[in-house]
Symmetry: C2
Subunit: 276 residues, 2 copies
């Protein structure tokens, strides 16, 4: 399918409504829904197999898996091999004593890598360990992929580092709860880096242990020129894809005089690495 | 007027339609219009006194001024003293052999500083010298102000460095020509840094030397929670202001667990200073 001479690929998202804790059912439902769309790359939400609103770290641990080896990753690898495509999907990773809010990159039967969420949101700080490996770019033969998860959106450095390292598409598995913030900000992430972004959010309400969370849906694919190429409503369960022209993400010129990356005046940005 | 114990200040923009090259008339018209609004801080557009669509560097030079000393800065200083307020306004600065696309900060009769545009857009690279002094924060007693000019918006590092250095309000004098890009992206600049942003754009069409530019108006004030507090249409000449609560920009907590600045994982951002 993917060929290094190709300029066009199909990228998509799956907007889901998982049932908390029902891992097998959630995975099978996601696989079934994913077959409704023909695509080279499909982004699934954050924690798509478990749900999000954990009571405590013990519950996180019970629903966690090793990567590779766990049943969710294995299932995604099998499906990706059969369909000669790539999944990016969020799940709880267990590694020694740590629990990560992770996303696997499963491409045509091969585990290309795991991204462990760097910026934890709200109670995630109690439930998960923060990722320590930073932001990685995966070379998928015909294009380069970066991954951020949900709240990473608010830190422009995350997408920036990925784009500077060559990412042409940024996958953004999410369980967004703040009304519309991320969806709007991802327009900026796309245009400021001249990359495509694919936000895969979930929908529905989870009420557990007195905590009620409503997920905002509105998954979207955004172009390097800030156009919303495909999007979902706030409530539907749906898969969508769009045929993107990778040349637009490879060409950083926004005017004949302005290459967005060459124009960066990095000597004037040094304060950006100060840790407050 | 301004007092270090104050939490509220009024900030505003003036959206203008200057006539190319008619400096005195443009300055007087801007001063006249500015009196329609009562505000502590008023942002005027980029190159508000000259217009934007220069034919060549010679023309830029002819319309340039020294700062301080030039008539535009002097006029703004006088007016700012009389009204005990602060102007941020764009004009061409001449300094030795250099010509900068600059913005003055004129506060209650005092020239607080000059920002020289760092990221030049399109033909500005032929017309101006790029600023070499970086991004500065001005302490205006009751609040801290940063300045970026127009195309600086697309580089998240500019607003980021200002916010990390304490800016609570980011002034954004502009002559925007790309449809709506900057106005949308400034929503991200506000929320990702938890600052107020004030974009002062101009309107109208300038056709000179075969080059036609339409300026997009839609000046706006954005809150740290991504709300558009005040805005103008694409064509009107208007001054607007809004009473902002500075405490919101001083408090970087977006959830009880998440201080946006303390949460930054700067060791994982090191690639951001690589110059391509």
């Amino acid at each position: 399918m993917l060929d290094s001479t190709l300029d066009f690929i199909k990228v998509g998202f799956l907007q889901t409504h998982p049932s908390f804790g029902k891992k097998t059912a959630n995975v099978e439902e996601a696989i079934r829904l994913s077959r409704q769309v023909e695509t080279d790359l499909l982004i699934l939400p954050e924690l798509f197999n478990t749900g999000y609103n954990f009571l405590d770290r013990k519950e996180v641990s019970m629903l966690s898996e090793e990567i590779p080896g766990g049943p969710t990753t294995t299932r995604l690898l099998d499906e990706s091999k059969r369909r000669r495509m790539t999944f990016v999907a969020g799940l709880v990773e267990r590694s020694e004593d740590c629990l990560y809010n992770s996303a696997v990159v499963a491409s045509r039967g091969e585990l290309m890598g795991v991204y462990r969420k760097v910026h934890l949101f709200s109670r995630e700080k109690i439930l998960f360990n923060p990722g320590r490996d930073g932001f990685k770019v995966y070379d998928l033969n015909s294009f380069k992929l970066g991954v951020i998860i949900c709240f990473d959106w608010i830190f422009p450095e995350a997408a920036r580092v990925l784009a500077l390292n060559g990412a042409e598409v940024i996958a953004h598995p999410s369980n967004l709860v703040l009304q519309g913030f991320a969806q709007k900000a991802m327009l900026a992430r796309a245009v400021e880096n001249r990359v495509y972004t694919v936000t895969a959010n979930r929908v529905g309400v989870e009420k557990r242990g007195g905590r009620r969370l409503r997920y905002t849906g509105k998954s979207q694919i955004v172009s390097p020129e800030m156009k919303i190429l495909a999007s979902a409503t706030a409530r539907e369960v749906v898969a969508k894809s769009y045929n993107i022209d990778l040349r637009m993400a490879r060409d950083k010129y926004i005017t004949p005089h302005n290459d967005l990356f060459q124009d960066r005046r990095t000597k004037l940005y040094s304060g950006i690495l100060s840790q407050l």
